[in-house]
């Protein structure tokens, strides 16, 4: 079953002569539990696609369906709820809240939702992320790899329909990159977490179930990898 359907998605920045088409009539669908790698050169439109799926931006035209719901038919308030429940975002530069400690950063989407924190899930997550003993640390007291693990924890905490990661290892060394990839892969396998990961890293791309290549705002290649 497709958990994510994108149809005829177009995003234009600017107006008139200076208008830039970042995404041009893109359609795709992703099945539940799929691990999709998105590749493309800089400025190809892959980040735009990710943001549009994540409900962070609004498309110029087209539709995004997540878990059977039309994302952009929602109001801003509903969109915020969608972001905290249905998607998890991971960025290259982690984007943690600097004054919140590890567990607070991880559970922020739950807190925003006004629900009690599932302490068991949190403990499992912290253990899985290798952050045990660092629960009270602030982002500034963590290494880049640790920060990215916190970001992934935050993205996974609500068990979202889709986890979206924008070059999650782009800022990390080889060792940390491998760790993060392993973590993402494990989440995908063990939790059945659907994932879209933008990457320049060939190894990561090859670890995915499917690779989508984007150039000039269009999908130029979409292939499944056979294991």
């Amino acid at each position: 079953m497709d958990i994510l359907t994108v149809s005829h998605l177009t995003k234009t920045y600017g107006e008139g002569e200076t208008a830039t088409v970042a995404l041009n009539d893109v359609s795709l669908s992703v099945a539940e539990g799929e691990f999709v790698a998105i590749v493309g050169s800089s400025g190809s439109g892959k980040s735009t696609l990710l943001h549009l799926i994540g409900g962070v931006d609004r498309p110029t035209s087209g539709r995004v369906m997540v878990n059977g719901i039309d994302v952009y038919s929602r109001s801003d308030e509903e969109l915020a709820v969608f972001r905290r429940r249905e998607v998890g975002l991971v960025y290259q530069f982690y984007n943690l809240v600097p004054v919140l400690n590890v567990v607070e950063n991880i559970t922020l989407p739950v807190a925003l939702d006004g629900r009690p924190v599932n302490q068991q899930r949190l403990a499992d997550l912290v253990a899985k992320l290798g952050l045990r003993g660092r629960e009270g640390h602030l982002p500034s007291q963590l290494s880049g790899g640790q920060q990215q693990r916190v970001a992934i924890g935050r993205a996974l905490m609500n068990a979202p329909s889709v986890l979206l990661a924008d070059e999650p290892t782009g800022n990390l060394d080889t060792k940390n990159s491998a760790d993060i990839m392993q973590l993402l892969r494990a989440s995908n396998r063990e939790l059945g977490q659907t994932m879209l990961v933008i990457t320049h890293n060939e190894e990561i791309a090859l670890a995915a179930d499917r690779i989508i290549a984007i150039e000039d705002g269009r999908i130029v290649r979409d292939e499944r990898i056979r294991r």
Partner: protein, 1005 residues
């Protein structure tokens, strides 16, 4: 131009809005400083010109017995540059006046020769005709034109001229216990006089009987002189006025022997009055300095002291301090924000090899570029603003400060002031960029490039974060913020408790806003009070007042005694004091009826709008000393028994003013005080409202004094009968033969009554049967009723008119006062019509003889007050508006930018699901915190500034209680709240408007 400068200028151009805001801040600061200082110099300039016009430009007066020597010294001093100008007045002699002339002109006609530019230096300026140019010509005071036999231009004046000489009085002079007021200087001069001394014009007229010594004076060596009148002068000043009459000026007349000459000199570049004295003494070694022109020196900026001037300087200093602080803050914020916003840029520059010094210089260059445009602009705006304001208010200001507008108030721009503003603003700008420049130079390249510069956690925050991990700690709603604002509040609280930057800039600018607004408020309030009091404060309502009174029995008796028609035998005498009191009350009631009718008649006068009337009467009262203020006790000590003004039985005795208001006005007054008016109409238990505060002026400063402080019962003395005869009156207090105050009250009979009992006052009191009754002071009002005004200093009791018929006083018949409004500009005509009508009405009744009848045209005086109030209000308004603008610009700048700088942080939160509502609540919670953090120190500093201003004003207005101007507190709160709301709304709008995607991007520098 090096690369950094080019970069700086380019960045200024690229960020037009920010550059313009910063320039506006600098310009506003410079404009405000210019305006305040220019107002000050313009005022001093006007005062200087006013004083020069009316008193002359002389700075020091020297005295000599030898004009030639004085002139020689002056010539030398002028040649050497020791003094810059010189003029002399040489006494010629004292013209003898006829008795009639003496009544109108003075003891003598002092005559003096003029030398030098007396018009400019001594302000001896003909209002008609010209100055004397040859012997035999004379310039007289214009009073001579108004005497019974007016003198005209071209007339010949012949009179004996002589020398004043002190002479011993033959017999022991009868001492008069009436002491003449005399200045210390005068007393000093007199101490050198003995019989036979020749007297100069600086010595007052000697009168042994009045002075209490043994010297009189006479004119000797009289010579007849004839003069042709060539001119008259109007302005009387120190040079033209003497203690024995107004001067007449001649030229080249031969002086009588032993006459004094006075020299008047000015010099340049003096810095203190002591220095002037020293330098003049150096220039005139044989002629002592007898006087300095202190008013002149003060306006020249030479410190000479004086309470009201201390107040003025004090207020100026506080204002300048507040303005400088606010300007520094405004400029600092503008630069700090501008640097913080561009930390990425600085990181980029550093990454391509810019040194710390270069980065610092970039910021300083930017500041200088901004100053180069902003300061001249500010100077222009400040001067322009002053010019416009003065154009509209000039006459008012002139009237306010010099009492007339002959010397117009105009813009006086001092190059020194402009230079000072330039220097001060430049220093402010450089100081303001010092910290941002240092910060810019310390930018961490990597952090800056990654946009991680802002909002790190503090050390304390790390410790707090480390503790908040357990299940019970996580996201528990803590604090008020959490409870009120939900998760938004909790986030804000966490941010506040753990963040390194806690929105201090916002709190500081808020505190400053409150301080600025409250300063403006305190200034307006205290200056307003001062202006109100200084302009006579508490005048009765209405444009015109007409007053009248009937002749009282004692007055009638005095008149009858004088013309021999008084007959002690036939005059009807009540047998007892009680009967006497009843007679008096009946009389009072009759008069009240007559005046009520008269008021009705007056109300029909065309154009006269009746607004109220009252009857005033005095009576001796005795009350517990605890009911009145210590001030009143001290002021009235002489009339009371003990030295502290309180009798041994604890009673305070005084004459109280009883004010009867027409019933409607009284009821309104009572209700205003929260009293039930009907309580005041019980004839068996009379009650009154006492006025608890009054304005006074002791000659040095204005005083707001407490009078009656507590409610209680007052015993009123109504009448007294001594051996079957009604006493004519009572004096309060009384001394025995040893001079000790022993009596609370002393009955008396009018002294030229030959039937006055020849007994001592003590015996008289013992033998007098006195009727008294009690009045209860049931309430105390801070303000006198409008129909009375607030001028009186003493015990004043207000009662309804209906009570006049049952409780009134024998001693003094009441005086009637009717108050009326008139159409603008017609007060004089209407007042005349009113007084005519009142005279006619009172003449129509034949029971009483009219004793006095007069009118007061307040409208003209009020006009003066209104001008003054307008000037003060406009000044305060402008000041408030400018300070409010600065305050609001500052708050807006810091709050808005504080939010915009955190755009990325907000974007992160929103991207993971922070809803708009939660976002708003988080910001609202943060706002509440800034407000609290700004409000508390801001209020404390405001209180301190308000208190300082109060102290300055209280220096001139004794007894002014410290109070907070609550209306301004409310205004400050409202303005600050509005500004915060607007700033936050704008800041949040900017944060939301910015594309989330853009905000999340990390490579945007």
């Amino acid at each position: 131009m090096n690369a950094m400068t080019t970069f700086t200028l380019k960045s200024l151009r690229a960020n037009k809005v920010r550059t313009l805001v910063t320039i506006a801040g600098v310009a506003l600061a410079a404009a405000l400083l210019t305006a305040v200082l220019t107002s000050y110099t313009s005022l001093m300039d006007m005062m200087y010109r006013g004083e020069a016009h009316s008193g002359g430009t002389w700075q020091a007066q020297v005295q000599s017995n030898n004009l030639n020597q004085l002139e020689d010294e002056a010539k030398e001093a002028l040649d050497s540059g020791a003094i810059t100008t010189f003029a002399a007045l040489e006494n010629v002699g004292f013209g003898q006046l006829t008795d009639e002339q003496k009544n109108q002109i003075g003891y003598y006609l002092p005559i003096a020769n003029i030398t030098g530019d007396v018009e400019q230096i001594c302000a001896i300026r003909p209002s008609e005709g010209r100055l004397p140019q040859a012997p035999g010509e004379i310039l007289l005071s214009s009073i001579w034109q108004q005497t019974d036999q007016p003198v005209k231009l071209g007339d010949t004046l012949t009179l004996p001229v002589g020398q004043r000489q002190a002479v011993e009085v033959d017999d022991e002079s009868p001492s008069v216990d009436q002491t003449q007021w005399r200045s210390a200087e005068d007393a000093q001069r007199r101490s050198t006089i003995e019989a036979g001394s020749l007297l100069d014009s600086s010595i007052g007229y000697l009168n042994a009987a009045l002075d209490g010594d043994s010297l009189n004076e006479q004119l000797t060596n009289l010579q007849e002189r004839t003069f042709t009148v060539v001119g008259f002068y109007n302005d009387v000043n120190y040079c033209s006025n003497t203690n024995v009459g107004l001067m007449a000026f001649t030229c080249g007349e031969t002086p009588l022997e032993g006459m004094t000459a006075f020299g008047y000199a000015t010099l340049d570049d003096a810095s203190s009055s002591a220095q002037i004295e020293e330098r003049i003494e150096g220039a005139f070694p044989t002629s002592p300095v007898t006087r300095l022109h202190t008013a002149m020196l003060r306006y020249m900026g030479i410190n000479t002291g004086g309470a009201i001037w201390d107040t003025f300087y004090g207020i100026m200093t506080i204002l300048a301090a507040v303005i400088i602080v606010s300007c520094v803050s405004l400029i600092y914020n503008a630069f700090a924000i501008s640097v913080a916003e561009r930390s990425g840029q600085f990181g980029l520059l550093a990454s391509v090899g810019a040194s710390r010094g270069q980065l610092r210089r970039a910021v300083v260059t930017e500041a200088l570029a901004v100053a180069l445009v902003g300061i001249p602009l500010g100077l222009l705006v400040g001067i322009g603003g002053c010019a416009v304001t003065f154009y509209f208010l000039g006459d008012g200001i002139a009237t306010l400060f010099s009492g007339n507008s002959t010397v117009p108030f105009r813009l006086a721009v001092e190059p020194m002031v402009l230079a000072a503003v330039l220097a001060l603003t430049l220093v402010t700008v450089l100081f303001s960029v010092f910290v941002p420049a240092w910060r810019a130079s310390r930018t961490n390249i990597i952090d800056a490039l990654r946009g991680r510069q802002s909002r790190r956690a503090s050390k304390k925050g790390e410790k707090r974060a480390a503790r908040a991990t357990g299940p019970s700690q996580l996201w528990r709603q803590r604090g008020i913020a959490g409870r009120v604002f939900g998760i938004g509040g909790t986030l804000a609280r966490t941010n506040r408790r753990r963040g390194a930057s806690k929105g201090t800039a916002a709190s500081v600018s808020l505190a400053l806003a409150i301080v600025l607004l409250m300063t403006a408020g305190s200034l307006s309030t205290f200056l307003g009070t001062l202006a109100d009091v200084a302009s006579g404060g508490g005048m009765p309502e209405g444009d015109v007042a007409v007053s009248a009174g009937f002749m009282s029995p004692s007055e009638a008796k005095r008149q009858n005694l004088r013309n021999g028609s008084y007959d002690t035998q036939t005059a009807t005498q009540p047998a007892t004091a009680q009967e006497a009191a009843e007679v008096a009350q009946a009389r009072f009631a009759q008069q009240a009826t007559i005046f009520a009718e008269a008021y009705k008649a007056l109300s029909a006068v065309p154009d006269a709008e009746a607004i109220g009337w009252r009857l005033d009467s005095f009576a001796p009262v005795s009350m517990d000393a605890s009911m009145v203020s210590s001030h009143l006790v001290a002021e009235n000590g002489e009339t009371s028994l003990a030295s502290d003004g309180v009798a041994e039985n604890g009673k305070f005795n005084t004459h109280a003013l009883f004010v009867y208001l027409d019933d409607a006005a009284f009821d309104a007054y009572a209700r205003q005080l929260g009293q039930n008016p009907s309580d005041y109409y019980n004839p068996d238990h009379p009650r009154a409202i006492a006025i608890g505060r009054a304005y006074g002026n002791n000659g040095i400063s204005y005083t707001l004094i407490d009078t009656v402080t507590n409610t209680g019962t007052v015993q009123v003395t109504l009448a007294g009968v001594y051996k079957g005869r009604v006493v004519d009156g009572f004096a309060v207090g009384g001394r025995n033969e040893n001079g000790d105050l022993t009596r609370e009250i002393t009955p008396y009979f009018i002294s030229d009554d030959d039937s006055r009992p020849s007994v001592s006052d003590d015996e008289m009191l013992a033998g007098t049967q006195v009727a008294t009754y009690d009045v209860e002071i049931a309430a105390i009002a801070d303000e006198a009723p409008a129909a009375l005004g607030g001028g009186g200093e003493g015990v004043q009791l207000v009662l309804p008119m209906s009570m006049a018929s049952s409780h009134a006083f024998f001693l003094h018949d009441p005086s009637f006062h009717g108050l009326f409004n008139t159409p603008e500009g017609e007060s004089a005509e209407v007042a005349q019509a009113l007084i005519d009508r009142l005279g006619d009405t009172l003449a129509d009744q034949d029971q009483f003889t009219v004793s006095f009848l007069y009118m007061n045209d307040y409208a003209t005086g009020l006009n003066q007050n209104q001008i003054m109030a307008t000037v003060v209000n406009v000044f305060c308004l402008l000041f408030t508006v400018i300070l409010a603008l600065i305050a609001m610009a500052n708050v807006f700048n810091t709050v808005t930018n504080g939010l915009i700088l955190r755009q990325r942080e907000f974007a992160v939160m929103r991207s993971i699901g922070l809803a708009n509502r939660q976002f708003r609540r988080m910001i609202a919670s943060e706002c509440a915190t800034w407000c609290l953090r700004g409000l508390i120190p801001g209020s404390l500093i405001s209180l301190a500034v308000a208190y300082l201003l109060y102290q300055q004003v209280a220096g001139s207005l004794k007894g002014l209680a410290f109070f907070l101007p609550w209306s301004y507190v409310a205004l400050a709160a409202a303005l600050t709240a509005c500004t915060i709301l607007a700033s936050v709304a704008y800041g949040m709008h900017r944060c939301k408007a910015a594309n989330l995607v853009e905000a999340l991007r990390t490579d945007s520098v």
